[in-house]
């Protein structure tokens, strides 16, 4: 006889435990009452409508849910919203939320076709912002290594690497360059 596993703990409070969390999201202060079990990813998607945070696995492997927390990439499916209290979260909207005025990193992805379905793309663009933040020049091999924590099923990665390099050139200056004006906002 096989029996499906289940929790016999009927006292589980089914998400009724809540806390108030205050944080900054894309430059704005946010205070919300959230269930303590709510992941940061679900909080951003469901409470703040930031549906650019994509869930590919919800167990910390695919990296599609990557956001920047105080400038460093984290997997928002592995964190609780309450753990982000007092910190600064950036989603891809922090680059640009406006399709007609893309940030240089987003422009570079468009130019190099560093995306196909677009599902991993916000995560990849944020990772690009993180590694390009200090203006360092990377080799293709280094970029390959740096983005390897995020899975992309569509592109085979080459055009993403090209996009990161193109974005780096744009941000560092030189021909066709643009400054990352939104950085540190």
């Amino acid at each position: 006889m096989t029996t499906s596993e289940h929790s016999t703990d009927l006292d589980t409070r089914y998400g009724s435990d809540t806390r108030t969390v205050t944080l900054r999201v894309n430059g704005r202060g946010v205070t919300r009452e959230v269930a303590t079990r709510t992941t940061l990813a679900d909080f951003l998607r469901d409470d703040l409508d930031l549906v650019s945070v994509h869930l590919g696995c919800e167990h910390g492997v695919c990296g599609c849910c990557t956001v920047l927390l105080d400038g460093g990439s984290v997997r928002s499916c592995l964190m609780l919203a309450v753990q982000a209290g007092g910190q600064e979260v950036e989603t891809v909207e922090s680059l640009s939320p406006d399709q007609d005025r893309l940030h240089p990193i987003q422009q570079a992805f468009a130019e190099e076709q560093g995306l196909q379905c677009g599902f991993c793309t916000p995560a990849m663009a944020l990772r690009a912002r993180e590694i390009l933040a200090d203006g360092k020049e990377w080799t293709d091999e280094e970029v390959r290594q740096e983005i390897s924590g995020i899975l992309c099923r569509c592109t085979g990665y080459q055009n993403i690497i090209n996009a990161v390099q193109n974005a780096g050139r744009k941000l560092r200056g030189g021909p066709g360059a643009a400054r990352d004006e939104t950085k540190g906002s």
Partner: protein, 806 residues
């Protein structure tokens, strides 16, 4: 040596490296994916999945779950049995499937109950609180043993675990093998992998106005097959509207993926409220509609002493898992290019489709043709090795030549056009094989390192037609012959373009870029200025949907057809207004002008204004408005012969590719690393080179995954052992090498602009080329890749086995 330039007409937009029109919205994170869709009062579902591979469902206690605040309903197989018909099914009717298991479960992960609740969190609490009891049944995991009479039965109504069996023989295989100077034989196994898009399947259903059920879903092909979902839900087809939602990747896994939308529709009907069900990754890994092929081969190939292939004899058992939802269509794809690019005429193909306690099979990029190509190329490599021929040499000797097209292969399909030597030459021109062969020797001798060179080709069949759904049967129930695609172009009253596509086709390919490029080519407007939308099934004209690398070809035909009709109307209005003969007018750069006197012209806004607002200025009997639709039927389909010695033309737009890889293998650890990888593809006229390169690269990366990393594994007891991304290894950027890509363009004579499909080719050849490179690297150990995926431990084991024997 470089490939000769093949002449084709010059286009202004087609063939240019343009940015994709889909990208701006995706880059700001507004792709409109299914999980992003919110609506008032939306409920969420979570699924209890079977922990047992084969068992009778004894009881499901829902009482605890229903006590949880926020849980609205729990539905089980009993509800499904009472209120549904079986799901759509192209296999035998004796193998019925429901979106929730009825009476018994047949694989680990099959749905047992659905909990519907106010939030997904609460729905999952509800699943935790369910208590289901199962009575275990004997488990069937080995597909060959499944066919033995004493094996336990998956489907009592079907009476055996053999889903389908037939032997097709084209030509005379025994003569071909007895005439051969050498017959090579092998036993090969292609293991299970899957499309595994980063976005899972999902659907949101809601009871709408007038009793119409609306299902929003990211599955494809429902302009074609919506009525089958309605049938499963026991509602009239005009009371179901399926609303297309862009998909975050598919690669086959969302091709007619019907169980998720059918289930969401059922839950919405039963609760009377909107319900969303989006698979989580565990759901998708163990219960997606589509795992890929899982085939066991006995193969024989005959060759003459000078390397000419005489025939191929295939005996394949395909492990379809517990259900046969699409019949054996994945083998039709093998038949479409069964002889590869080679001239041999004799082929025997015995197919047995086995039913086992595993997830059902469906589509994965290549749809089974990639598996056949791997077997074919494995056999060609084996013959070459035994004859002492280089891989490029044996292939070149056997190629179908340019003056033989259109070429009818054994089995009846047509290859429309091609230039295989040009593709091979281009690939050889991009890499210095002589250097690498010398380097291989040097590294082996001086540094004790092992590099291998693999070279393989593939055909890239594209644009399936529907006869392949039924040529398997002598008396098919529904011998359909249509597989069209449609487009509607509207010029609005101000002269702006709207383009409507009639199926869901955004899944990471670029249907909007392709179709607006065609509008641009025909009308001289910029592609970005055209707005694209997708029709729901209540409005859709005939549309089969993407799959089998058909969409670019088909939508180009549909858009061009609609464009021709609309151009004629514009010219007729202009002729009437300017009082000149229509023959003297032409449409250039979004203006209708007099030939030779372009100053006498009318722009689109002026013509549109006439069409919408000045009926008295229109030619007599012309209808107001500027909208035209066109349904483009499959460009070349013929009926199979009644005795099935000829399966007819069903996949005639055929590209070609050649890949060459230089791979280092560490015999002590089984680790592999690429030194170089060249991929040359001929997909006919290229619409957007960078997009095509992207598809070749992405496809090749998936082929690499199927070859070295990805496995949907079941243990001997039928337990599924790949239920997370920690177990199922999708290649990361570290595993995928930079591919150097080249193109040859041999336009198709049968399609608009000469386009061929190019969406799958990358995955069709990587498994062959990587297998060959591993063999070549470890030749002294007698390495022969016979089973995929070939993991590091397999390589180490083969090397150690060889050393122990020597």
């Amino acid at each position: 040596m470089a490939a000769p330039d093949i002449e084709k007409p010059r286009y202004k937009y087609i063939g240019a490296d343009r940015k994709r029109v889909e990208d701006p919205r995706l880059l700001v994170g507004r792709g409109g994916f299914i999980a992003d869709l919110k609506m008032q009062g939306l409920l969420h579902a979570a699924i209890l999945r079977s922990p047992a591979p084969h068992a009778r469902i004894v009881s499901i206690d829902t009482s605890e779950a229903l006590q949880i605040p926020g849980v609205v309903a729990v539905l089980t197989g009993e509800d499904v049995k009472a209120h549904m018909n079986p799901c759509m099914n192209f296999g035998p009717p004796t193998i019925a499937q429901y979106p929730i298991a009825v009476d018994k479960v047949r694989y680990v992960g099959e749905a047992v109950a659905a909990v519907v609740a106010e939030s997904r969190y609460t729905a999952e609490d509800g699943v935790e609180a369910l208590v289901a009891e199962f009575e275990d049944l004997p488990v069937v995991t080995d597909p060959r043993k499944a066919l033995e009479p004493e094996s336990a039965l998956l489907h009592d109504d079907h009476g055996s675990n053999l889903g389908y069996e037939r032997t097709f023989e084209f030509g005379d295989i025994s003569r071909a093998l007895s005439d051969a100077d050498l017959v090579v034989e092998d036993t090969l196994h292609w293991g299970r992998s899957a499309g595994m898009p980063m976005e899972t399947s999902g659907a949101t259903a809601r009871p709408g106005l007038n009793g119409v059920l609306e299902i929003h879903c990211n599955s494809l092909n429902f302009s074609y097959l919506q009525f089958l979902v309605a049938n499963a839900l026991k509602i009239p087809s005009n009371k179901l509207t399926m609303q297309p939602v862009p998909a975050g990747g598919s690669f086959g896994s969302k091709f007619t993926a019907h169980k998720v939308p059918t289930l969401a529709g059922f839950l919405a009907l039963r609760t009377g409220r909107p319900v969303s069900y989006v698979e989580d990754r565990l759901d998708h890994l163990m219960n997606s509609d589509h795992h890929g092929s899982d085939r066991y081969y006995e193969a024989k190939m005959g060759v003459t002493a000078d390397g000419m292939i005489t025939g191929l004899d295939i005996d394949v058992v395909d492990d379809y898992g517990a259900y046969l939802q699409f019949g054996v269509g994945t083998h039709g794809n093998a038949f479409s290019q069964a002889v590869g690019p080679y001239t041999f005429r004799d082929l025997k193909y015995r197919l047995r489709a086995a039913l086992t306690n595993k997830c059902q099979q469906g589509a994965y990029r290549g749809f089974g043709s990639e598996v056949h190509n791997w077997v074919l190329e494995r056999m060609v490599d084996k013959a070459a090795a035994e004859l002492g021929l280089e891989p490029e040499e044996i292939r070149r000797r056997n190629f179908i030549q340019q003056d033989q097209f259109p070429y009818k292969i054994p089995g009846g399909n047509i290859y429309d056009s091609g230039n295989y030597p040009a593709v091979l030459d281009k690939a050889l021109g991009m890499i210095d094989l002589e250097y690498w062969r010398t380097e291989q020797q040097r590294l082996r001798e001086q540094e004790g390192r092992y590099i291998g060179i693999g070279l393989a080709t593939t055909q890239e069949r594209s644009v399936f037609s529907s006869t392949e759904f039924w040529f398997w049967f002598d008396e098919p129930a529904f011998p359909i012959t249509s597989s069209p695609e449609s487009a509607t172009i509207t010029i609005d009253p101000t002269g702006q373009f709207q383009l409507q596509l009639h199926c869901q086709s955004m899944w990471g390919n670029s249907p909007e870029t392709v179709s607006t490029t065609v509008v641009a080519e025909e009308f001289g407007v910029e592609p970005e200025s055209v707005n694209v939308s997708y029709a729901d099934t209540a409005h859709a004209l005939p549309g089969t949907g993407p799959g089998g690398s058909r969409y670019t070809v088909m939508v180009a035909g549909a858009v061009r057809g609609a464009g021709r009709k609309l151009k004629k109307k514009l010219i007729d209005i202009a002729a009437h207004t300017l009082e000149v003969a229509a023959e003297d007018l032409e449409l250039v750069d979004a203006r209708v002008q007099v030939k030779g006197a372009p100053e006498k012209s009318l722009g689109l806004p002026e013509l549109a204004a006439s069409a919408y607002f000045f009926a008295l200025n229109l030619p007599p009997s012309m209808e107001s408005g500027l909208e035209e639709s066109y349904t483009y039927d499959h460009p070349y389909t013929t009926l199979p012969s009644p005795d099935r010695t000829d399966l007819g033309v069903f996949y005639p737009i055929v590209g070609h590719a050649c890949h060459i890889a230089v791979l280092e293998v560490d015999p002590d650890t089984g680790q592999t690393a690429f030194h170089d990888y060249v991929a040359v593809h001929d997909a006919g006229t290229v619409v957007n080179p960078k997009s095509l390169d992207g598809h070749v690269t992405g496809g090749a990366a998936q082929g690499l995954g199927s070859t070295l990393y990805e496995e949907l594994a079941y243990d001997a007891d039928g337990q599924f052992t790949s239920s997370t991304f920690m177990d199922y290894l999708v290649p990361t950027a570290n595993e995928v090498p930079p591919f150097r890509i080249g193109h040859v363009e041999t336009p198709s004579p049968y399609t608009e602009y000469g386009i061929k499909g190019g969406g799958e080719g990358g995955r069709l050849v990587t498994p062959s080329v990587v297998s060959a490179a591993i063999d070549d690297a470890l030749r002294e150990y007698g390495m022969r890749v016979r089973e995929l995926p070939v993991k590091p431990a397999d390589i180490v084991e083969a090397v150690q086995g060889a050393m122990a024997r020597s």
